[in-house]
């Protein structure tokens, strides 16, 4: 309990959203890969 209070609010804040961050980065990765796929398809057909 005492240990938790010594953490700054900023640190507590950051720890608690790591899962969110990873999730959205995975989403971003999906967007990037799918976009790249269609881009390559388009260029190959040109």
């Amino acid at each position: 309990m005492v240990k938790d209070n010594k953490q700054s609010p900023k640190q507590q804040d950051e720890q608690s959203l790591k899962g969110t961050f990873v999730s959205v980065m995975l989403l971003g990765g999906f967007i990037a890969l799918s976009w790249l796929g269609i881009f390559i398809l388009f260029v190959s057909r040109g």
């Binding site: 959203l17 959205v24 980065m25």
Partner: protein, 156 residues
């Protein structure tokens, strides 16, 4: 407004990714010539297509060593000229209009995919690097015979 540090990072990453996409497609379009169909405005009286050159005589016309203009008309439910034979490796500048309703003009397996709008002439250039019998079909609903509106282009 309070933005969590990780949200800031995410948005910077996300927006940067979008900027990269925009730059790639922008450069491809304006510097490398990979534009969507229609570079310049080209109007035509939709009631007079069959009397307006060059659409009064739809045809494939050689204009260079391996370069052609294809003057085409889309109508319910076909294309004119109905059949074309294109030499392998030729670059074809399609110019197409409609004498009635909006049609599509799609060659599956290629990037030739454009809208044919009455009152306008659409332009698209494609180099046929593969031989074969290419399907050319209308992909914009135009009426009862829409699914019959197709032909083939021979490249050899």
């Amino acid at each position: 407004m309070h933005l969590h540090r990780l949200e800031k990072i995410w948005l910077v990453f996300g927006i940067s990714m979008l900027v990269v996409f925009l730059c790639v497609i922008g450069v491809a379009a304006f510097a490398l010539g990979m534009q969507p169909p229609s570079g310049h405005s080209h109007s035509i009286d939709p009631q007079k297509v069959n009397e307006t050159p060059p659409f009064d005589n739809p045809r494939l016309e050689q204009i260079g060593e391996n370069e052609y203009n294809a003057y085409m008309v889309a109508y319910v439910f076909g294309y004119s000229p109905a059949k074309m034979e294109i030499p392998l490796g030729a670059t074809v500048h399609f110019q197409i209009t409609s004498s009635d309703v909006v049609h599509g003009f799609e060659i599956p397996g290629t990037n030739v995919n454009l809208m044919v709008v009455p009152g306008e002439v659409n332009h698209y250039t494609h180099t046929f690097t593969e031989p074969g019998e290419f399907l050319l079909l209308c992909n914009e609903y135009c009426g009862a015979g829409h699914e019959y509106m197709a032909t083939t282009i021979t490249v050899k």
